[in-house]
């Protein structure tokens, strides 16, 4: 939206910077997983999610052109409230459902113990 105020050359440059950053941020996680470069699961997950989050920010800034000045800040505001909602939905569901799994699924030995009750 703010792109119309820029001249064409700087618009092209903005899109190309975003594109090159996106390519780099996409290639690295794919390369890490496909080559099996790291055997440490946590390191691999950190790379995937860290670079994925950065790439989402790159897209928001360079492609969607979200700025605090656009639409008197309403665009950035609605984006932020959405992010808050998403954080609550995602972390809440995962937290609650994992606890359900823990508490509702009897472990194998518990079943055996109940079976062998006198």
């Amino acid at each position: 939206m703010s792109a119309e105020h820029h001249d064409a050359a700087s618009s092209y440059r903005t899109y190309m910077v975003g594109f090159v950053l996106s390519v780099i941020l996409t290639v690295i996680p794919f390369a890490v997983v496909m080559s099996g470069a790291t055997s440490n699961l946590n390191v691999a997950l950190a790379i995937i999610f860290g670079l994925g989050a950065i790439q989402i920010l790159v897209h928001i800034y360079y492609f969607l052109h979200v700025t605090f000045s656009a639409e008197d800040g309403w665009q950035a505001m609605s984006l932020m409230i959405t992010v808050v909602f998403l954080a609550i939905i995602l972390s809440g569901s995962i937290w609650v459902m994992l606890h359900l799994h823990e508490n509702m699924m009897p472990a194998h030995e518990q079943i055996e113990r109940v079976k062998n009750l006198p």
């Binding site: 618009s11 899109y15 190309m16 989402i56 897209h59 969607l64 984006l79 995962i94």
Partner: protein
């Protein structure tokens, strides 16, 4: 007399089944009207974002319940996912080039960039249909396990959005051909631009969370 009170009376000039232009549209310039539409579309995108957020949450909860069926490592072919990711990313930048040309009123160049965007979008959709066909023939349909139900629902919803975006793109190309680069058409192209970039953004989540993480775990 009585019947005149009980029956609904049509307003003068009859009912209007369309939204009229903003009355002060021409007074204080076109910018105000444009801003309202773009912000409204943006808020729609945010609500769409919540839909995808819920589908991601469902996948996070159910994604490891294989029901003795196949797991992501058995099913996903990362080289093909990398190819469709490239298609979608390239279609994003070609759409950006189309928007730049639109602002310069270069209709012909813009249409060409939009056609290229459509082709890459189509390539993405073909890859996805082939993948779904492959999974179906392996017996890994949406009914096979909770993992596969949530996978088909999440990735299928994204694919449906891309399909709608592609249809929208074709309709816009017809509109531009019929009426040229009018103010309304420019606004529509900007809305589709937001939609298209937004779908690419969702795809980042899909390939990171579903495909790459799924193969690792």
């Amino acid at each position: 007399m009585a019947s005149a009170h009980t029956t609904a009376v049509a307003p003068e000039g009859g009912y209007q089944f369309y939204v009229t232009e903003d009355p002060h549209h021409h007074d204080d310039g076109e910018h105000h009207h444009e801003t309202g539409t773009m912000l409204g579309f943006w808020i729609y995108l945010m609500s769409d974002c919540l839909i995808f957020g819920i589908l991601f949450a469902v996948y996070a909860v159910l994604g490891q319940s294989y029901a003795a069926g196949p797991s992501p490592a058995d099913l996903f072919e990362l080289d093909k996912i990398a190819l469709s990711t490239a298609f979608l990313l390239i279609s994003s930048i070609t759409y950006g080039f189309a928007v730049i040309n639109m602002h310069q009123d270069k209709q012909k160049t813009m249409v060409n960039w939009l056609l290229i965007t459509g082709l890459f979008g189509l390539g993405f959709l073909v890859m996805e249909v082939l993948e779904f066909q492959h999974l179906w023939h392996l017996g890994a349909g949406p009914g096979a396990s909770a993992f596969l139900s949530s996978f088909w629902f999440l990735v299928g919803t994204h694919g449906l959005h891309v399909t709608c975006g592609a249809i929208w793109l074709v309709i816009l190309l017809v509109q531009v051909k019929m009426h040229g680069l009018t103010h309304e058409n420019k606004r529509r192209i900007m809305c589709l631009s937001l939609f298209w970039h937004f779908l690419d953004l969702i795809w980042i989540g899909v390939f990171s969370f579903v495909y790459l993480t799924g193969v690792l775990l």
